[in-house]
Symmetry: C2
Subunit: 101 residues, 2 copies
């Protein structure tokens, strides 16, 4: 079983920061219960008008399943121009640079 890192970002107009945290609180609790998800970091850049997330999953199956589900959810919000990249993590190098895995 090899972990997978999922990197997603997309064009986004807000809300940002605390307003986003309020709006997405229920969604965040839902995502926290996602099978095979270790963690998600929520990312936002209001100057560039982009948002997204970095996720770590237990394995490729959990990552693929979530990506399909999240793609459909974002499409429901009208967000379709998504950039999604799936990576393996290089363990020895990440350990040297204190990665929180």
């Amino acid at each position: 079983m090899t972990t997978r890192l999922l990197q997603i970002d997309f064009p986004y107009d807000g809300p940002w920061g605390e307003a986003l945290a309020s709006a997405c609180d229920p969604l965040a609790h839902d995502i926290a219960g996602e099978s095979g998800l270790r963690w998600k970091i929520w990312t936002e850049n209001r100057e560039r008008g982009r948002a997204g997330g970095i996720y770590l999953f237990d394995d490729e199956a959990a990552c693929t399943r979530y990506l399909e589900k999240h793609r459909a959810r974002l499409a429901g919000f009208g967000i379709v121009d998504i950039r999604a990249e799936v990576f393996e993590v290089n363990g020895p190098l990440s350990a040297i640079t204190r990665a929180p895995l």
Copy 2:
């Protein structure tokens, strides 16, 4: 002082995995000592021929300084088609999803 997440990825032909870990061991130790860097996760996808990293910095100044330095270093390896995105982290949402911040 607000942390910044830096997301970098680029076309890459290998080496991968353990061979990459051996080749980049000195570089990883150098990066580990980078001022203002909390951590880096090293990412690789040999099927898609891409690699990169996810970084967390103490603040925007440290992030910008590192990005310029790393861009020059990658250019020295012949890697110039780099995608780099800088984000703020949404703290409340990330806390709900167990983000390692």
